[in-house]
């Protein structure tokens, strides 16, 4: 069985590798740093490390969509990626 039908590209492969790595890291962290008590932040809901990661990913997706939808085409997409990193940092710190 080959996976050619899935139409892999380098960027999407890197993207999924990043997610897999992040999930693995979160799994390892539950052993290494077990102080993962739910915390109530500015979202007014209790979040753990995994929740914050999920919110970062989901928010990043919408940031990219908003960038594509609202910004003129000649502005590069990596600015949205930078914004997402900042957003993720904020989520991990304050959410």
């Amino acid at each position: 069985m080959t996976f050619a039908w899935m139409g892999w590209t380098l960027p999407t492969a890197l993207f999924f590798a990043f997610i897999a790595l992040a999930l693995l890291t979160l799994g390892v962290l539950t052993k290494l740093a077990p102080n993962n008590e739910p915390r109530v932040g500015i979202l007014r809901v209790a979040t753990q490390r995994g929740d914050r990661f999920f919110l970062s990913l989901l928010g990043s997706a919408f940031i990219h969509l908003a960038w594509i939808g609202l910004m003129p085409e000649d502005l590069p997409l990596w600015i949205a990626t930078l914004a997402s990193v900042v957003y993720a940092a904020l989520v991990f710190r304050f959410a």
């Binding site: 590209t9 999924f16 753990q48 929740d51 999920f54 997706a61 939808g69 085409e73």
Partner: protein, 285 residues
């Protein structure tokens, strides 16, 4: 210290495999497709964010999205209060209970497409009872989008209100009699009983009802497809069907998926909030 049994992984493995096969691998494929142009001979060409740009700048897509949201809001605004009202008036004991439950379960057992066909016939202005009755008021779902919209809402209410009613009923019958007795002693009015006993106790099932009805109505496809054959009003699903390019379909699907994911998170958060119950532990959560 709780004992840890690693053998449980073997029991989870089949499910993991199944989920990988039915959800994760297809989702990854859709993501891959969404950034490429897929030629007919399964040749892939990288196009970057082209499809997303096209979808997000397409007026048809936004119109369909708004239509979906408005449709979901309308049917929730009708079905939830109506379902609760029906549940409140259903008998609690005696022969009426099975009669009510069976009658209400009937529409739930009819497949979407058949419901569409029923209403397509029912609403026809030449031979349908409903259509003929409303013909004099200018009703014609075939060439008036508002009438088509009205028919779809009515159809959905007819099809799914009993699901809400049955869920609400399940919530109601689980309230212990002691609450009602206490309310009677306090001389509480019917409204107070509803507001302070029945509604809070139904909260959990109503959240599930809202979630189910939102999801189901948001993905509406079969009914407009059966009734108006992809004409007006165009919903996201019918819009998706009309899209030709595989990559563009994939991009639309991803956007749709993200909306559903966000909605699910909101519902999950609302449902697990403020109840003090321990959250599922372990893994990455």
């Amino acid at each position: 210290m709780k004992p840890v049994n690693q053998k449980a992984w073997f029991l989870v493995a089949p499910v993991l495999l199944l989920v990988a096969f039915t959800a994760i691998i297809p989702l990854m494929t859709v993501v891959n497709y969404s950034v490429q142009y897929v030629a007919t001979n399964a040749q892939f060409h990288w196009v970057g964010d082209l499809w997303y740009r096209e979808v997000l700048h397409s007026e048809k897509f936004w119109n369909a999205l708004w239509r979906n949201l408005v449709f979901s809001c309308i049917i929730l605004a009708i079905q939830i209060p109506l379902g609760v009202l029906i549940a409140l008036n259903m008998p609690r004991k005696g022969w009426g209970v099975p009669v009510c439950l069976v009658l209400m379960a009937l529409p739930l057992l009819i497949p979407w497409y058949v419901v569409g066909m029923i209403w397509q016939m029912f609403g026809r202005v030449d031979i349908g009872l409903f259509g003929v009755m409303l013909r004099d008021f200018g009703y014609n779902y075939e060439n008036d989008p508002i009438d088509a919209w009205f028919t779809l809402v009515l159809m959905d209410v007819w099809h799914w209100t009993s699901l809400v009613a049955m869920l609400a009923y399940a919530g109601l019958v689980s309230i212990p009699d002691a609450y009602y007795q206490a309310a009677r002693i306090d001389g509480a009015s019917k409204w107070s009983v509803f507001r302070f006993i029945q509604l809070p106790k139904m909260g959990r099932v109503l959240t599930i009802a809202i979630l189910l009805r939102f999801m189901d109505s948001f993905m509406i496809f079969t009914e407009p497809f059966a009734v108006i054959a992809g004409g007006d009003p165009v919903f996201l699903s019918t819009e998706l069907k009309q899209t030709v390019e595989l990559g563009q379909k994939a991009a639309m699907s991803i956007i749709y998926f993200l909306i559903i994911l966000l909605t699910s998170w909101v519902f999950y958060t609302v449902m697990t909030r403020d109840d003090g119950a321990p959250r599922p532990q372990g893994g990455v959560s």
